[in-house]
């Protein structure tokens, strides 16, 4: 199979020593095994994220996303832009769709880009890594590089919001997307398909500004995973991962719970199933160690 090439948009959190560095590391390992070549968009910038709305406004947010597109079009022509971060993907795709839909907006955006000598033509496609995996490889294709089964591992697939809404993965429902479950099953693990908090919001950026309210969300997400007998949670979103993993200790402290639920990325599961080491899968990047997964990696 020919190598598949994509323009990679890792986003601010998926940089080395950033909060989702384990996502970056495991993504790279996973892509190696799948023979995917990711090339970072040269000099990419932050997407603005949703929370940028307040100060950023509409056009500046779209313009900075267009800057990334322009860079990709220029330097990686013909390659789809692939994001791993839910917020990056959403901001980018939303910007792209709005630019595609409005000639006026396109004009204004290019006026802004011109200030840096750039131009966006509207050719690059914006995709999420999960879309690449499902659409370009398919579940059967994802099975191919498997070296180990995740047999016996009970995993709650937590999809969260922004990889799911408003765009989502083609063919999946907003209320009960099944792709994480299918991925887990593909890798031989036990998917907890009835896990009902799979699309509950973790609070997003409000984890910072409204900790009480967000932690209530997080508590529901973790508690339900326990109720269904989960041994870990898997997610495709760095903010979901961070919020759900990091705040468990806070919740324990405040509310007397004893949460200790590992939260991993699908890329980590795949790296392990594809025979990668715990280090390849960046399992050392977990605040709550995914011991069972480490064990399989160590086998």
């Amino acid at each position: 199979m020919a190598k598949k090439e994509y323009a990679f948009y890792p986003g601010c959190s998926s940089q080395l020593k950033a909060s989702a560095s384990n996502y970056l590391v495991s993504t790279n390992s996973m892509c190696n095994k799948l023979d995917i070549k990711l090339t970072e968009i040269p000099d990419w910038n932050c997407c603005g994220a949703s929370i940028g709305y307040c100060e950023g406004g509409e056009l500046p947010r779209i313009a900075i996303n267009a800057r990334n597109f322009a860079q990709a079009e220029t330097h990686l022509p013909g390659q789809d832009i692939v994001a791993t971060c839910a917020a990056c993907w959403l901001s980018a795709r939303e910007s792209k769709e709005r630019l595609d839909a409005s000639a006026q907006l396109m004009k204004e955006t290019n006026e802004a880009l011109a200030a840096a000598g750039l131009n966006y033509k509207g050719t690059a496609e914006v995709r999420h890594m999960v879309e690449v995996l499902i659409e370009d490889f398919g579940y059967e294709g994802l099975k191919a590089p498997m070296k180990k089964s995740l047999e016996g591992l009970k995993i709650a697939g937590y999809v969260g919001c922004q990889t799911n809404r408003p765009f989502g993965i083609a063919g999946e429902s907003f209320e009960n997307p099944m792709y994480l479950d299918k991925m887990v099953e593909t890798l031989g693990g036990e998917a907890l398909t009835k896990y009902e908090q799979k699309v509950t919001c973790c609070g997003g950026a409000l984890a910072f500004s409204e900790p009480e309210k967000s932690q209530k969300q997080i508590r529901d997400i973790v508690e339900s995973a326990y109720d269904h007998g989960a041994e870990m949670i898997v997610t495709p979103c760095p903010l979901c991962q961070a919020n759900v993993e990091v705040y468990q200790s806070e919740i324990n402290k405040k509310q007397g719970t004893k949460f200790n639920m590992p939260v991993v990325y699908y890329s980590q599961l795949m790296t392990v199933a594809y025979g990668g080491s715990a280090k390849d899968a960046a399992l050392d990047g977990q605040l709550i160690r995914a011991e069972k997964l480490e064990k399989i990696a160590g086998k």
Partner: protein, 428 residues
Amino acid sequence: MTASIATNQTILVVGGGISGMTAALEAAECGKQVILVEKTPVLGGRTARLYRYFPKMCHPTCGLEINLRRIKQNRNIRLMTMTEVVSATGSRGNYSVTLKVAPRFVNENCTACGKCAEAVSAEVANPWNYGLDKMKAAYLPHNMAHPQRYVIDPSIVGTPEGEKAKAACPVGAVDLEMKEETVTLQVGVLVWATGWRPYDAAKIQPYGYGRFKNVITSLEFERLADPHGPTGGKILRPSDGKEAKNVAFIQCAGSRDENHLRHCSRICCMASLKQTQYVREAFGDEGKSTVYYIDIRAIDRFEDFYQNVQKDATVSFVKSKVARIAENAENGNPILHGVNTEGYQRYAVEHDLVVLAVGMEPEITGVKLPDDVILDSSNFIEGSKDQGMFGAGAAASPLDVNRAVQSATAASLRAIQVIRKTASTEAV
């Protein structure tokens, strides 16, 4: 084969529900030749599967009985059941229509004695009850089935079960050798009275139809309330067979929603108001109905019915499109989440059962409609460019029964006019 039973003076009515029967009968009773084609083994269509009609709370089978009596005695109508239109070509006054006739495996000798059903043990899902229960694979579709002839389900043809049915028939009516036939007819005019089907409730994801057993559609609820339905008329919920005394009705399930159906399906408000009275009928003051709505569309005299239901202490109204349904894992109760927009009250309420008032979609799937047919944005039939084909009833617009009958009667006259013009052209 080409049948010579029709000419360009014949009106072909497609669909044997209330609209199709009406269109066919009204034309036939004006002396016109009509072929009435029905896809299923029996006449009656969707209305025959309703327990009661609003607003009179009378039974659809009552009107069906009269219409069947009219059809049985009217020699101007030729009825073809288990027949579907495959294609229609030609133009006003001169259409060539290809029909596919599925085998019933029972011929006209059948006396509906029921021996075949006694002999057969295989069961199939019962479409009359929307698959809520099973029936024998040799069956009379329902009590008032017309033609009053049994049907052998194709699944047992060629099996020992099929042979059992054949052996049990005292009058040699079971014919397992029947084959699908294709028939071509020349007709002058077509009336599409193909009716409607419920919007696929599973597509309304937040409501969990298909995921939560105690979330059902309004059509399924009709069958639960009907003494001839799967529960013998007891309102029992699917998850555990317990009496569903506290029922939520969710309006606009699919309708008035650009994610689903753009149009308002018109009947659902009245249908739910009616169904609250099923709950009252079953449980008296113990029953509890809650209607979640955007606008209650109880148009014209139906308003009287609405006002009466409003007076019923067991029924309450919440102006809210329910946001989502969750399930109480312990008791299987659906939990409705949303906000009452009148004054902004947040709720998370458990009910025994949720009934989705699903919207109407035109039922024209599988038919190769001629290019001439004009459809509106929701695929209802507006008419045809050549004015030789007409939509009638719910195929033409989301209509309640009395408006469907009105529409079918009108379509019938328009069809007669085409026939008349064809005749006068030929006479020249």
